[in-house]
Symmetry: C2
Subunit: 362 residues, 2 copies
């Protein structure tokens, strides 16, 4: 199983797979300065909430290393400036801010006044965030793999794969795991307008691993499901409410409706960090509107006539009633979700920082 | 109400709106020879089944005129050769073959051996086909207009408008009529991957008429409907079975599922010629697969990695149970469709040539 290494810390730089060039070119980019790393985040060379979190943490480690502080005061000054600079690259990315806070907190917690020790703590925390992300993906994969039978047709939407995380992804993790266990299946990837993550990224990473994949237009998903070729649908999630309503990439809801109509299981794979128990249901999930030009001028080519507006929400909400199972790092849960989601968080506080950030492929 | 003139017979040439250039450029193209007209059909400068039928008839008239036959024998020889040449431009276009047959039959029926009279009969028949198409569109518009309330949000898919016919279209005809009657509304046009007819053509012709229109990605239609902005969905049809199952542009079925879920009326506008009573239900409708490159390399830009397959059906089938009303040139019909469709064809034979061809926007 050949999974792409989205982000690697070399010890003195960050090596990342430039996702803006995929699949035409597979090019790794070496970021040796704050400027280079910040540009990579801003320009979406790295994307997917978990991957962005990992990138932010390593970028902080890199920037402090370049500043080479000679005192604790210089270290904390460097950290403050760099956290601010990195934070500004994508102001609405939850995982980015969360990862930076984690690193800063860990450094403070050392109680050390040795700049070397402090810098080391930041690097260690970045390593820990990356390792935790890999482990969450692995657990989701292990939990979901038994749901992927030999000979299946599988439909997915957007990219919630290795490219969106430091590990094997969320929605794609059960597929990678099932494939490694020897089961064979065919994946259909919705192209995922407006940004084509399915055609560009999901198709690429699956075919890199030798998993057969076909791409289709988003509008063709319902008739693909009606044709009987699909045995399960599996998608990631951006946010899941206490009731089990799912915000995910625009287009997910329509796929869920078609799956229900044809009695095809609809699985949502996400780590517990994606559940936001402060939201009781989907109506309270804010939906970001993206630039209309992504619709009216695809690939930069103006298609709609001048003056015509584009309606371009980034996400839609799939009601819990359309979800067959959630596949999480703590196992697979079934309805009634209001109860079973509660049990996921049994002994824990529900508003913690770890869940605020965490693993959200975008 | 400014509707585009898709095809105009000037008396010695065909002037057509070059749809391959829309909406970037509004250019009329003058076809004065068989070769120019055939190229226009082949290159999809004119599209939509009814418009292609009209174009084929005028192309035949044009080609015979250029041959300038001096005897009945020369006329029929010219007609035979030109019918063959035009027929070959788009071998699967039903309306094209139908229109050519109509013209040939009418010429023969004159019983004349004057080449001028025979040529005139072909031109008259082409005029009649165009006028009939305009009249069918007008009747559909009149029947459907009362279903479009003031202040409505209207969703449509693909282009079943003036650009696909010689008249005001099928799905868009009730909208044009309602607008002329003074009611105001907002149209949302699915971009309609893979060929973008919604973004390019529907958005263009509506905005030309001053009707406000927004374009959205096909995957966003379900959440647009869920948002409460849509009061009715109206689409055209390629073929409708005796039971009321509807083959239409890929993506239609998903829109119908979302409309049903949110109790939004789903209207299908089509002339009686679109009903194919030889088919009992949707499972017997053949679905054409189009070139995979339309999916994997949108606008000619390869997006999916090499070796990844595209799944690209041209049409999908929406079951009759999801259709609220059919809007036809003989009025609006409600369920049970098996009965009400029968009444549309009450006194008529059901296998006639007129219905085999006829008005099918594509």
């Amino acid at each position: 199983m050949k999974l792409p290494e989205t982000i690697v810390w070399t010890g003195k730089s960050i090596r990342l797979l430039d996702q803006t060039l995929l699949p035409g070119a597979v090019k790794y980019r070496e970021c040796a300065t704050l400027e280079e790393a910040a540009e990579a985040i801003r320009s979406l060379r790295v994307r997917g909430a978990p991957a962005i979190g990992v990138m932010a943490a390593y970028t902080l480690a890199l920037a402090i290393r370049r500043d080479n502080p000679q005192s604790a005061a210089a270290f904390f000054d460097s950290m403050r400036r760099n956290v601010e600079a990195i934070d500004a690259t994508r102001p609405t990315a939850h995982n980015l801010a969360w990862a930076l806070r984690q690193c800063a907190a860990v450094a403070k917690r050392t109680g050390s006044d040795d700049p070397g020790t402090l810098s080391r703590a930041v690097i260690d925390e970045a390593d820990r965030i990356a390792a935790e992300d890999r482990e969450l993906c692995r657990r989701i994969g292990a939990a979901g793999s038994p749901l992927v039978p030999d000979g299946a047709g599988v439909l997915t939407h957007c990219n919630a794969g290795a490219l969106a995380t430091a590990g094997m992804g969320t929605a794609l993790a059960p597929l990678y795991m099932a494939w490694e266990e020897g089961r064979r299946f065919h994946v259909y990837a919705d192209e995922t307008r407006p940004l084509w993550q399915g055609a560009r990224l999901t198709a690429w990473e699956l075919s890199q691993s030798g998993i057969p994949v076909s791409v289709l237009c988003d509008g063709a998903a319902a008739s693909l499901i009606a044709s009987g070729r699909i045995d399960l649908v599996i998608v990631g999630a951006d946010r899941i409410t206490a009731s089990g309503d799912v915000a995910n990439k625009i287009g997910t809801y329509g796929v869920a409706l078609a799956a229900e109509r044809h009695d095809v299981p609809f699985y949502v794979a996400a780590p517990r960090s994606t559940f936001d128990l402060s939201l009781s249901d989907g109506s309270s999930i804010p939906i970001e509107q993206r630039p209309p030009g992504e619709v009216t001028a695809p690939l930069g080519t103006p298609l709609a006539p001048a003056g015509v507006e584009g309606w371009n929400p980034a996400f839609d909400v799939t009601p819990a009633s359309l979800v067959t199972r959630f596949i999480t790092d703590a196992g697979v849960i079934a309805p009634p979700f209001y109860e079973t989601i509660g049990t996921l968080f049994g002994g824990e506080a529900t508003g913690g920082g770890e869940r605020e950030g965490g693993n959200r492929p975008g």
